[in-house]
């Protein structure tokens, strides 16, 4: 049997970490991701099943942390669910058996690249990258926005920490955009 080595979104064996001034950008390869969308007229059934399975379904534009499942809102009656990759690599199958036919579930892990941003103040960086008013948004805010030409999800975990999900095939471009903005700030 072939012995295959998994590669990160940036094409390397190990997750990449980049630092510039006070900023640290860490690629996250330990997150499993799936989308959960309520089927037509089945929202009540999904809410019940999700509660039982411990899958949070937060309000619009918010992220809710939990163990093992965290989730953020992406569209009306649709969420992205995060879980630790080590224990939930088959997140789509796990959610399907937990939520039954109330929801349509799609595996998303390998469609995205996740970057965690950390700096004492992320506002000057993010105001150069996107049109989200980061300081004005509450912790736990999650939104889709544009960085350069890329549609990304931005999750505010605090004034000093944020996570970005961008399209995996453009991982290098997204990192380049973040680094370029960082160089103009610091």
């Amino acid at each position: 049997m072939a012995n295959l080595q998994p590669l990160t979104a940036l094409g390397r064996r190990e997750a990449t970490t980049v630092t510039h001034g006070p900023l640290t950008v860490s690629e996250r390869t330990d997150v499993a991701l799936a989308s959960v969308a309520a089927r037509k007229g089945r929202m009540a059934a999904l809410t019940k099943a999700a509660q039982k399975a411990g899958v949070p379904l937060p309000d619009p534009a918010t992220h809710q942390s939990g163990a093992p499942y965290s989730a953020f809102w992406t569209a009306p009656e649709m969420w992205f669910v995060e879980a630790p990759f080590a224990t939930h690599e088959l997140i789509a199958d796990l959610l399907k058996s937990a939520l039954g036919d109330a929801a349509s579930i799609t595996e998303q892990t390998d469609a995205w690249v996740a970057f965690d941003l950390a700096a004492p103040d992320l506002a000057p960086l993010l105001e150069r990258l996107c049109n989200v008013d980061y300081p004005a948004r509450p912790t736990g805010h999650a939104t889709r926005t544009m960085m350069e030409h890329l549609g990304v999800y931005l999750i505010k975990h605090g004034p000093d920490t944020a996570r970005i999900y961008g399209p995996r095939s453009s991982a290098e471009s997204l990192l380049h955009a973040i680094e370029t903005a960082a160089h103009s700030v610091w």
Binding site: W73, T74, P76, N131, T145, M146
Partner: protein, 94 residues
Amino acid sequence: MIIHHPILGPRDAQEFVYLGDASLIDRPDGMTAGVEVFHDYLYNRTNPAGEHQELWYHEQGDRSWLVVTRNTVTHEITKVELARDVARSRGRTK
């Protein structure tokens, strides 16, 4: 221009894509309504100088379709609704 998204609040218009007249929601039944009615639906638009209902797509956001009531003379936006709710209020099931 700022569009007040009914779920997400004020959003910059650059996040949206404009489709056009919201009468596109009222598609006649092509099998029974007749050619003239369907032709009107497909090609004819009123072009009012004033209040206009139009479809906008939140492309760089939650990808919802909105019906925006906008004054084409002043660009004032008086009402923003989810297209889904508008369609349902007109008796559509999808």
